[in-house]
């Protein structure tokens, strides 16, 4: 029992030693600290079992995941906060300098960042349209049809494809203004000189459409699962009462689907806020930043200018905004749903 505790202490000591080692013992990297952390984590779990017996065994179920998450999220976040207030360009030799609130001031004056944030609002609003389409498709899939399995697999496929491949397949080749098949189709329909990424509005719409293409199946499947959970009797009852299909949808199906819908939309918003891959690969933010999402903007800040300090601050501000927005949304959804139960 005490042996395990001693082991724990020993490993902790080792870790502390390692931290000091960076100055005097000349390790090339911090990797020993990582190993020490892993050993320490294992020691902690082991110690819990021995010290607390049954209770400890229960604790060990959650502990590994918790330790892992703390190491991978909380630590980098704190570290990121310290970077956010420094002037640090990886390309320059001078290294890291603390510069207080300069980054904040720069952000305040950066029109591209605000533009990217505004774009995110547009992208997020597009979810409502996606939701309507997904709901429609789910209703169709839930009705009496043949070859249901075929349609389900076909509808699911876009979700499985990697956004990078999608951005090439659709963004670069099918939308190619000279010989892409969609450009051809557009010309057939009377658009003389189709250019899908020339004007800001159309470019933004195309990005939305591509993102919708990949993620509509996701919402569709969640809604479909919800639809299948509704007992058949309800619809029969509505029919007996003489409700038209239209009315029975709005009075029975839709209200029952509300919780599922809200979950689906919330998750979709979370995914949408991470939108970047397609933008980076198709337009890289252009024309004139019209399609930039926050993520792709910061990505270029790192990649092209290796402006670490400023980029991190932008990301941190984004995180704060997201957390605030999501909290408000969740609270609102909660309040809106409660009276109906």
């Amino acid at each position: 029992m005490w042996g395990a505790f001693g082991l724990l202490m020993l490993v902790a000591l080792l870790q502390a030693l390692d931290a000091a080692d960076r100055i005097d013992m000349g390790f090339t990297s911090w990797r020993p600290t990582l190993y020490a952390y892993a050993t320490w984590g294992a020691g902690l779990c082991w110690g819990q079992i021995i010290l607390k017996g049954e209770q400890g065994k229960r604790l060990v179920f959650v502990l590994p995941a918790a330790l892992f998450t703390v190491a991978m999220v909380i630590f980098p976040l704190i570290f990121g906060l310290t970077i956010a207030f420094t002037d640090w360009n990886l390309a320059s030799i001078s290294g890291r300098k603390f510069n207080g609130l300069d980054n904040v001031r720069q952000m305040w004056a950066d029109p591209f960042y605000w533009n990217a944030l505004l774009n995110m609002v547009w992208y997020t609003l597009a979810i409502l349209v996606e939701y309507a389409i997904a709901f429609g498709l789910a209703l169709l899939l839930n009705s009496q049809i043949r070859a249901r399995k075929f349609f389900r697999v076909a509808f699911l496929l876009p979700l499985m494809l990697s956004p990078v491949a999608v951005s090439w397949m659709i963004g670069k080749s099918m939308l190619e203004p000279r010989f892409g098949p969609l450009a051809r189709l557009a010309r057939e329909l009377g658009w003389d000189n189709p250019s899908f990424f020339g004007s800001p509005e159309i470019a933004r719409f195309m990005i939305m459409a591509m993102d919708a293409w990949t993620f509509i199946p996701f919402m569709m499947i969640m809604i479909l699962a919800g639809l299948q959970a509704i007992p058949k009797e309800l619809h029969e009852a509505a029919k007996v009462d003489g409700a038209s299909p239209w009315k029975s949808f709005w009075e029975v199906t839709f209200p029952l689907m509300l919780p599922v819908s809200i979950t689906a939309i919330l998750i979709r918003i979370i995914f949408k806020l991470k939108l970047a891959d397609i933008i980076i690969n198709v337009t890289s933010g252009g024309p004139g930043g019209a399609t930039d999402s926050v993520t792709s903007f910061i990505f270029r800040e790192y990649r092209d200018r290796s402006n670490v300090g400023y980029g991190t601050l932008l990301a941190m501000v984004y995180l704060v905004l997201i957390v605030i927005a999501m909290t408000i949304l969740m609270k609102a959804a909660d309040r809106w749903m409660r009276p109906r139960y």
Binding site: K57, V60, P217
Partner: protein
């Protein structure tokens, strides 16, 4: 022969309406299926085209144009080059291997850690300081909200210090983190649907908590685990953002390779099409073979 029962006027209009509804339903379904499948079809066919075929916009193989192995030859994967040495193929296979290793091990790790945590959270009550079960679950799930950009940069610097930059292990750890909340979410649902009496019976029979978990509960929860595993596999296979930032030569994954080729081979369509198709092929196969599990996994959160 006289007909005894005649359709009345009302019936007939109803029948017409019904057919109309059917037609519209299938019309929409087929239209959407086309929207979903056409880009994939286009990619496959383009990989067998030659330059003039692309310019002319030929669509149907053997009718509009004769398929050529051009695109696949540039990857070193066509029948006549498959035996010969090919640097492109070597690189492609290396990237493919990277992607496979990273995706498989990250998903495995996430499913193991996530299932344990989910089981614990669904069965026992914990207290870490002020945090109760619900808070702990929320702590795990809230990782979903965290946008990758926020972590990207600290990790870039941290990995540099840890000498993990451009290694597979670094990517695996990070990917595990990104899919862990999803796994926990699915598995918590899965475990909650298993009655506690099963474990109680096992405990009475003299098994420990871990024994009961491993021998009784895990086999029952296996479908859920498969669903979670496949979902994480898809997500990690497709991940681009972190891979683009954190790898440069050794650990580059397929999406990064595809993305880096878009610039350099702008108009070399057949090669790009072949590469893209090779990158998405495993997922298409998974989607068709294991569609049931994927849908189950995604539906887990929707219906409580």
């Amino acid at each position: 022969m006289t007909q005894i029962f005649h359709d009345s006027e009302a019936d007939r209009s109803f029948r017409a309406k019904w057919w109309l509804g059917r037609g519209a339903t299938y019309g929409v379904l087929i239209l959407w299926a086309l929207i979903c499948l056409f880009p994939i079809y286009w990619t496959i066919t383009t990989s067998f085209k030659m330059a003039p075929d692309v310019m002319r916009g030929n669509m149907v193989p053997w009718v509009d144009y004769t398929p050529k192995w051009l695109g696949w030859r540039s990857l070193g994967l066509s029948p006549d080059t498959i035996g010969a040495e090919s640097t492109v193929r070597a690189e492609f296979l290396k990237r493919f291997l990277n992607s496979t290793i990273v995706a498989l091990s990250a998903s495995t790790l996430a499913v193991v850690l996530g299932s344990l945590a989910a089981y614990g959270l669904s069965r026992f009550s914990y207290r870490f300081g002020p945090m109760r079960n619900n808070d702990i679950s929320f702590f795990f799930l809230s990782q979903l909200i965290l946008p990758p950009v926020v972590l990207a940069l600290p990790f870039l610097v941290l990995y540099k210090e840890l000498a993990l930059l451009d290694t597979r292990i670094g990517l695996i750890l990070l990917y595990t983190l990104t899919v862990l909340p999803i796994v926990i979410w699915i598995m918590r649902d899965q475990f909650a649907s298993i009655p506690t009496e099963l474990e109680e019976a096992a405990l009475v029979d003299g098994l420990g908590i871990w024994g009961a978990f491993l021998t009784i509960i895990l086999p029952i929860a296996l479908p859920g685990m498969v669903a979670a595993f496949i979902l994480s596999l898809v997500l990690t296979w497709n991940e681009y953002f972190f891979a683009a930032l954190l790898t440069s030569t050794n650990a580059v994954t397929l999406p990064v390779m595809v993305a880096s080729q878009t610039g350099s081979q702008g108009i070399n369509w057949w090669a790009m099409a072949a590469l893209s198709f090779a990158a998405i092929l495993p997922l298409i196969v998974i989607a068709i073979a294991l569609e049931r599990y994927i849908i189950k996994g995604m539906a887990a959160g929707a219906v409580k």
